[in-house]
């Protein structure tokens, strides 16, 4: 009730949504880096304290390498005598997993959207399927991973060769599917009764209403759902790789390197960093998509 009223008459010269979010993102990034720095300090502190008193964990250099050992690990050769550094191996594995996750994401989001459209259009399907979709998010579907890989390995669809990689992508896609279908349904049902009455007064067909009203109104719901789906696809990919032992991705690498900690303790840490980076890159991609999709929406009111 204060100065905002006084400046009401002036045109809205506040920075655009994109600029605002960039600034906020930068601010958050700096704080996150501060958090990371804090973690590094605490890591070394714990190691130091571990040399003095008995802690519940092993603080040896094999179990908990120094931070600089981890950094040096990037440049180590992956295997004795090999030309590839650990960093290169991790990077290519992470990229491999990223592509699988991306594939899973696209499929999951696509199917999720389709199902949402069907559920919105036909109340019967919403009533019948939505409870299962919601319930599926509360149960560990990832538990099916070894079984799906097993099925995949034994099935042959004609000339198409099903490799385990496709099993992983399938798992990632169904994990991405659920949050997307729930979010998209909510978005498609978001238009106000008034807006719907307006469209009806124009004798618009359900398809026209879908394209011209429901889809545009659903953006604020689609975007957060996509973020959750992306996270689910990434985590699903890595976890599926781990539980099925599929080669090529970062999950498998983490397991392998975890067995070699006595010889090269830093390797598993580099691999874990790779997995973290994978997640962050995926998040950045989705955020970029988000900024692009919402670029023309009204500026959010931060009172």
């Amino acid at each position: 009730m204060t100065h905002t009223d006084a400046v009401q008459a002036a045109p809205d010269t506040r920075p655009s949504n994109s600029t605002r979010r960039l600034r906020a993102g930068l601010f958050g990034l700096l704080w996150a880096l501060a958090g990371v720095a804090l973690t590094i300090v605490m890591w070394e502190l714990v190691k130091f304290v571990g040399t003095i008193i008995e802690l519940p964990m092993t603080t040896s250099d094999t179990a908990m390498p120094h931070v600089w050992t981890m950094v040096a690990g990037f440049a180590e050769p992956e295997v004795r005598g090999s030309d590839t550094t650990v960093a290169q191996a991790v990077a290519s594995a992470a990229l491999y997993s990223l592509l699988i996750a991306l594939g899973g994401f696209v499929i999951g989001v696509g199917v999720g959207l389709l199902l949402a459209i069907v559920m919105q259009r036909f109340a019967f399907f919403e009533r019948g399927l939505l409870p299962f979709v919601i319930a599926s998010q509360t149960v560990p579907l990832i538990a099916l991973a070894p079984l799906i890989t097993g099925i995949g390995n034994r099935v042959s669809l004609g000339p198409f060769e099903w490799s385990s990689t496709y099993s992983v992508m399938f798992i990632a896609s169904y994990l991405a599917f659920f949050p997307m279908s729930v979010g998209a349904l909510r978005g498609l049902q978001a238009p106000t009764p008034t807006a719907l009455e307006l469209m009806r007064s124009y004798a618009a067909t359900p398809r026209q209403i879908l394209w011209k009203l429901r889809f545009p109104s659903s953006l604020p719901y689609l975007v957060p759902a996509m973020k959750v789906s992306a996270a689910a696809a990434v985590v699903g990919t890595v976890v599926a790789e781990i539980s099925t032992g599929v080669r090529g991705g970062i999950g498998r690498l983490i397991i392998e390197y975890a067995r070699e900690t006595t010889a090269q303790p830093a390797k598993v840490y580099v691999a874990v960093f790779g997995a973290i980076l994978l997640g962050l890159v995926a998040a950045a991609l989705v955020t970029a998509l988000d900024v692009y999709l919402t670029r023309n929406l009204p500026k959010e009111n931060h009172a």
Partner: protein, 256 residues
């Protein structure tokens, strides 16, 4: 069929039809169990060995509960600190947003090396980490997102920050607590299960699904999957029940 029962019988009907179709498919196409076991086979494996199913589920469930409890308590403490010291909020919230896409479960091998791999500890710890962040974010939001007019009201009644916390912020945060718990509880179950893939005690659902599959005991493997689903649903339903009991005003349009 009365309108009130409609939302119940439709999914039930679809569920039953799906199971029947599955059973029919297996029989008609003579699909071998290593490909896709029939629901009847899974059921007989599940109910035939209920004791084994429950003890396995109990093991993983216990890991999940421990991680959920500790992670929630830490989340509460951190959120209360965040209300008082905005530094805490500024540090943790961006970290939480960043970690949402990261497979935190990948930390398990590291934790296995640091802590005793033959115990539950590394698995509980990774569950604690995964549970902490959604609980913290939701609780902090609940404590801080009070309506400005409510803060003005408190000030006009000369309430101290501590009183405002007790009388306004904490009751306001309870619905947010449950929103966080509805996310964290299933995550705890998933994490407890997946953490078993990294070695250590093999009595849990994750380990047994993998080993059953490796030993081609597919009916049993699928039965374990059913047990995991039961555990996940149980956790979620308990949270739902707690929510309904403690916040009867949810679902109503809030006053003003």
């Amino acid at each position: 069929m009365s309108e009130r029962l409609k939302p119940v019988w439709t999914p039930l009907l679809i569920g039953v039809l799906a199971l029947a179709a599955w059973e029919l498919l297996v029989i008609v196409q003579d699909i071998k169990p290593y490909l896709l076991p029939a629901p009847s086979l899974i059921a007989s494996n599940f109910f035939g060995d209920l004791g084994l199913m429950s003890s396995t589920a109990f093991y993983t469930g216990t890991t999940a509960i421990m991680g959920l409890a500790i992670g929630t308590i830490l989340g509460i403490v951190a959120a209360l600190l965040a209300v008082r010291f905005s530094v805490v909020n500024n540090l943790i919230t961006p970290l939480a947003a960043g970690l949402a896409t990261v497979p935190i479960i990948a930390l398990t091998p590291i934790l296995n090396n640091m802590f005793n791999i033959t115990s539950r500890t590394p698995r509980v710890l990774v569950t604690v980490i995964i549970v902490f962040f959604p609980m913290f974010v939701n609780l902090t939001r609940g404590l801080l997102q009070v309506q400005p007019v409510q803060l003005e009201l408190m000030r006009s009644m000369n309430a101290s920050p501590k009183t405002t916390l007790r009388v306004l912020r904490i009751p306001n945060a309870i619905p947010f607590f449950f929103t966080g718990l509805k996310i964290a509880a299933p995550l705890a179950v998933i994490t407890a299960l997946v953490a078993e893939y990294f070695g250590g005690p093999q009595q849990g659902l994750g380990s047994r699904i993998a080993s059953s599959a490796a030993n081609t005991a597919y009916g049993r493997a699928w039965a374990y999957v059913v047990a995991s689903i039961v555990v996940g649903l149980l956790f979620y339903l308990v949270v739902l029940a707690l929510e309904r009991w403690s916040t009867p005003w949810i679902g109503h349009r809030r006053s003003n």
